[in-house]
């Protein structure tokens, strides 16, 4: 079937999820062309610091240059192809291949090789540079497509999510901390992105944790950990119609975000406790009262940058969705310190990520199970078409292509497939 026919009206062909040939096209036309998040500036603070990141089926090195800029190099020796680095490094002056010691400058150019006379022509090739690398407010993105638009243009309506995350730091910068969690599921990568903005599922998929919290009301008075957990679990128990009142905003390019739905307790957008008061005071010192109020008023849950990034500004955490095959996906979860904020705020962040996004989470584990069930079900050929029309009559589209929908709409799924089709059809 021709690719342009895989999305028909408000339905998508199941091949989009299960067909290895479609997956190979996605790798080539989406994951090698779209801007992908590869790392944060705080991970490589000084010249010669480097980290490794997957990018479109390959591995790249993000290297802090002598001039302070960020370089992105293919992690592949120009000689015999060995990986140059296997783990992050600090303060390197050169990058050296372990095999025949070809040695490169931090910008990837060749500095020298041992026994150069042995090569008929003196070697000149350096480490290949990644076509494009750009940073937005400390978040580094890269792409193999030299013709990609600028990163800011690409982020479009979702640049504001990064602004809000950084603006929440009293010192004006973020620092990555806490290592990483990684989840894996035997399902298609798109399921994670679709589910992240699906507000009909929580009441059903997460019912067991909602009911477990309702059965243990004493948890709300117990230690901080149990309190935060119970408040998060209970938040998924919103009565059905109220999910519709959570706004869902979609933007051209496949990006979208939804409003927050954490209303009270330690997870509320503004709190009354002494830690939050200290934090707020630090923010006012930096931004003034009016701007502080505006920053804290931004109440969104998941901010999605298509194709594979989910950012939570309020808890300074992000998830990177990495497809391994049509039916296999890894999600990496990372979090950040709001520089200048009280230390207790970072414990809140760690708890949020552990509780919401660990593979052992009482919430996320059920999502992973559902993705695997969908993947198994979609191998069934009884019907080829998957419906995504829920809420289509309620879309309020603005002239610039942005659209506001009720939280119960599948608008984000439709919007993701608009971008998907556009990238996939561009040969």
């Amino acid at each position: 079937m021709a690719i342009e026919n895989l999305v028909r009206g408000h339905a998508v062909h199941r091949a989009a999820y299960v067909d290895p040939e479609i997956y190979a096209l996605e790798e080539e036309r989406i994951f090698r062309r779209a801007w992908l998040y590869v790392g944060h500036e705080s991970e490589i603070p000084a010249a010669g610091d480097y980290v490794l990141a997957p990018l479109g089926g390959e591995e790249v090195l993000l290297v802090r240059q002598e001039d302070g800029s960020v370089g992105a190099l293919h992690n592949r020796c120009a000689h015999r192809g060995a990986r140059i680095a296997t783990c992050p490094g600090k303060g390197a002056r050169t990058l050296r291949c372990p095999y025949h010691a070809w040695t490169y400058r931090l910008d990837g150019s060749l500095l020298g090789v041992p026994l150069p006379d042995g090569y008929a022509d003196a070697p000149r090739a350096g480490l290949a540079r990644v076509a494009r690398v750009e940073s937005y407010r400390g978040f580094i993105f890269a792409t193999h497509d030299p013709g990609a638009p600028s990163l800011t243009e690409y982020l479009g309506g979702l640049a504001s999510a990064f602004d809000n995350t950084v603006d929440r730091a009293p010192a004006g910068t973020l620092t990555r901390f806490g290592g990483r969690l990684q989840l894996e599921y035997r399902g298609n990568w798109k399921m994670f992105m679709e589910n992240a903005l699906d507000l009909v599922h929580p009441g059903f998929v997460h019912r067991s944790s909602v009911e477990a919290a309702r059965a243990h009301p004493e948890a709300l008075q117990a230690d901080e950990l149990a309190q935060q957990a119970a408040q998060m679990f209970l938040a998924n128990g919103l009565p059905g119609p109220q999910w519709g009142e959570v706004p869902l905003h979609t933007f051209p390019g496949g990006h979208a975000y939804m409003g927050g739905f954490y209303r009270g307790g330690v997870i509320a957008p503004e709190r009354a406790d002494p830690v939050f008061a200290r934090y707020r005071k630090a923010l006012v010192e930096r931004h003034g009262e009016e701007k502080t109020r505006a920053i804290l008023e931004v109440d969104r849950f998941n901010n999605l940058v298509w194709p594979n990034l989910s950012l939570n500004a309020r808890f300074a955490a992000l998830r990177i969705v990495r497809p391994l095959a049509a039916d296999r996906t890894v999600v990496e979860v990372q979090c950040f310190r709001l520089d200048g904020a009280p230390e207790e705020m970072h414990e809140l962040t760690l708890r949020f990520v552990n509780l919401a996004a660990s593979p052992a989470s009482l919430v996320a584990s059920d999502d992973l199970e559902i993705f695997e069930r969908c993947q198994a079900g979609l191998r069934d050929r009884a019907s080829d078409w998957i419906d995504m029309r829920r809420g289509v009559l309620a879309d309020e589209r603005a002239p610039d292509g942005a659209c506001r929908s009720p939280g119960t709409s599948e608008a984000a799924v439709r919007n993701q497939f608009d971008a998907w089709k556009r990238y996939l059809c561009r040969s």
Binding site: G179, E184, Y185, E211, A219, L350, L362
Partner: protein, 159 residues
């Protein structure tokens, strides 16, 4: 010490068996009211505030985990997992933390079968124990998997 060592070994084996037999309420009763269950992502983490954890749960949160495990609508346990804990190399030591009395270090291998698939976990466990009259209560259980920061599929039953 021989009596104590035998008592600690019996506790660790009982704890493992209660998990394997899905007797989660009895399992939970082995933990003190102020107990913490902690599975960090990396062995070098000193406290839960150092970094992300697979599980970091107080007794009150464990109560919710156990309540959920017993519900039919906990999708990740439909069908339920069948587990087998192999606890070995138990060492009983005086606690390094003056507040408590005893620590037990052990090696742990957990085999899990669910649906059509099997998987294995391997790691080290640390149990911090408090004497309570004639019995021992778990004040903290820490499990360091050898691959805590590697991709993991959904986890529901504690290690």
């Amino acid at each position: 010490m021989p009596v104590l060592k035998a008592q600690v070994e019996a506790l660790l084996l009982l704890e493992a068996r209660l998990l394997d037999e899905r007797r989660f309420d009895e399992w939970l009763a082995l933990f003190a009211g102020d107990a913490v269950y902690w599975a960090p992502t990396r062995p070098e983490q000193r406290t839960p505030a150092d970094g992300l954890s697979l599980l970091h749960e107080s007794r009150a949160l464990l109560e919710m985990r156990v309540a959920r495990l017993q519900r039919a609508d906990a999708h990740v346990q439909s069908p339920p997992a069948r587990t087998l804990h192999l606890v070995s190399g138990i060492e009983v030591l005086p606690s390094q933390d003056a507040r408590w009395e005893i620590e037990a270090r052990s090696t742990l291998v957990v085999a899990e079968r669910r649906g059509a698939e099997s998987r294995w976990f391997a790691g080290r466990a640390l149990h911090v124990l408090r004497r309570n009259a004639e019995t021992l209560l778990i004040v903290m259980k820490r499990v360091d998997l050898i691959d805590g920061d590697a991709p993991q599929r959904a986890l529901a039953v504690p290690f």
